[in-house]
Symmetry: C2
Subunit: 365 residues, 2 copies
């Protein structure tokens, strides 16, 4: 049950609650837009982080050319909410999803990526049957070893096949260097980014030399976006986490955005002097990037204490915490923590001003 009152102070919000500091998020949206304003690289922010059309519209208003989604289900939410153009950054496979892709393409521009000729053919066949042409990028493995064909000749071969398929339009390349986003040293991250991008832009040049039109070269996340701005040949970037940030990105040098996301939790038990138990555990905070950081209680450290509980080991300064007191935690990983919640509790100047549905939460298909 959702109970809230506009204007209540953050300390009155029921817990656990996912808190969005809207002023900080809006400053992040503006800061990213400002970085791009004088260059030729465009912004197609990734909505897999926030999964919320309200935030996507704010990104569009700040100059984004469209959004990126991880899953077709997220794209469905965004297109239906009026976002005109969505790139789905993971391959779409299987009859059901292909039918959904073709159906969704009637309502907005949905770009797809492929790294497999037979999967591309299946999309083309379905699109052609419906009298449609799906704009398609070839996904290139720039070093992450996840999805993507190898750069160079394998990418050229697949691009030629895509360009020849009646239901597809070849529009360019995607090469996501996800393995570099959290490289802590700014210099090392930049060096490795340049090497990854060389593979991608060399491949784009190879394709152009073969007579293919490569309109889009899409790359970049929050950790590498600053380097992508002057990477010759890159046309757009896909950062997601910058809107809200998290504790993991907070340790990466030179990223430069504000923490806007928190989980508010209550002390529910204090039977020892050394620690207290709070009501946010594995079901309210993702653990894949470690424990959250405690905000505002000096010396206190959080550790997971099960599905529903966390333990705050107290330094001396936190020893006056009592049952019912509230504490802000900084999630270690924004995407997976937001995915656990149905709503953002939107605060401004420590007051609750709105509650926003996270409409694409759970859209893993």
């Amino acid at each position: 049950m959702l109970e809230w009152t506009r204007g209540q102070s953050i300390g009155e919000i029921d817990t656990p609650a996912l808190i969005l500091d809207i002023a900080a998020a809006e400053r992040n949206i503006r800061a990213m837009a400002d970085r791009l304003i004088h260059g030729s690289v465009r912004l197609r922010p990734h909505v897999k982080t926030h999964k919320c059309p309200i935030l996507a519209h704010k990104q569009m208003a700040a100059g984004a050319i469209g959004v990126t989604a991880a899953k077709l289900g997220e794209a469905e939410v965004m297109i239906r909410a009026g976002i005109p153009e969505v790139l789905v950054s993971t391959p779409i496979v299987g009859r059901t999803k292909i039918e959904r892709l073709v159906a969704l393409s009637r309502h907005g521009m949905v770009l797809t990526v492929v790294d497999d000729a037979s999967a591309a053919r299946a999309i083309s066949d379905a699109a052609a049957r419906a009298g449609q042409k799906i704009p398609t990028l070839v996904d290139v493995d720039v070093g992450q070893r996840r999805t993507g064909v190898l750069p160079g000749e394998p990418a050229l071969a697949l691009a030629r096949q895509v360009a020849s398929m009646p239901g597809l339009v070849f529009v360019g390349l995607q090469g996501y260097e996800g393995h570099l986003q959290h490289v802590q040293s700014r210099d090392e991250r930049e060096l490795r980014f340049r090497a990854s991008m060389q593979r991608l832009t060399d491949t784009a040049a190879l394709l152009r030399g073969a007579g293919l039109s490569v309109d889009i070269v899409s790359t970049g996340g929050t950790g590498t976006s600053t380097f992508a701005l002057d990477a010759t040949g890159v046309t757009e970037i896909q950062p997601g986490s910058y809107v809200v940030m998290d504790d993991h990105y907070g340790t990466v040098q030179g990223v430069g955005f504000e923490q806007a996301l928190f989980v508010l939790t209550s002390v529910v038990s204090r039977t020892r002097t050394t620690d207290v138990i709070v009501d946010a555990g594995l079901k309210a905070l993702s653990s894949d990037s470690g424990a959250p950081r405690v905000r505002g209680v000096e010396g206190a450290r959080y550790s997971f204490a099960g599905d529903e509980h966390g333990r705050l080991e107290l330094g001396d300064a936190g020893s006056d915490l009592r049952v019912g007191d509230k504490v802000l935690l900084v999630p270690s990983h924004c995407d997976t923590t937001i995915h656990l919640h149905d709503h953002f509790y939107v605060v401004e100047a420590d007051k609750l001003i709105e509650v926003w549905p996270i409409e694409a939460r759970g859209r893993v298909r």
Copy 2:
């Protein structure tokens, strides 16, 4: 978007999908009920695992006296779905939750636990104002060091206070040995369980000696339930995972239930010979207890490859996996994986027979 057809084979279900083998789950429900049938210990299964009223009703039909919930939000779902009696196993703190508890108590029997006198008083005051009396257990720390007052005198002191409060009825003790559920050795687990239970049953004896009526002594999870059956003084157990099981419990000796829960995933990329990429990552499979196990592909091992992807490193036998092929994964931790999904895809003899909403998913309050 949810697309499915009754009778389609498991290989046709869109992915990622949370699969429930209903025959295995029903055998688990029956097996637990059979264990209890000749003893005095009753079953109050924990619904924080499955979060699904349909399964709760099956547990009730097999003889459960009610269910246990972790959060009030889960209790709300269960009471509204017709489960007559719910024990909320974590302390309820804060004005909003207390008001919800009192409101919910008009519709069914909701038992609460307390480990703090001021929190108990707040519940009593609200209940008394509404002309109600909330049945209340004192939560005792039997060694987990999470919630709960210490056994013995501290528990007696709090129980006396609860018994004197106008809006509460003291009904007994809860002592959950969560730290023992996954002790791998059966002998060590049993030994430590007996020591934990001694603390709890000695405390119950102390309270009875002081003139308090201790009707309920509630304990036990899936890993210790077999020992709880003949633990003198225990009146009921709260196992949850036994209905579906998971890979973590699968490594614990002597637990003895069947795996009924899977995540179905598709191969979405195969650009190398050594591995394939599947469409289930951190947003479809919890990682707090490690990686899932691969079912049916000999020698293949899963590793997380981000929010939306997993990597199957292939043994020789799995080398014919292609894009579009489907693979079953055994979740490492059932509770936190179910919490990521909105529906169970219910299969019987490898055919999809129903899709059930996981109605209490996301109810972290």
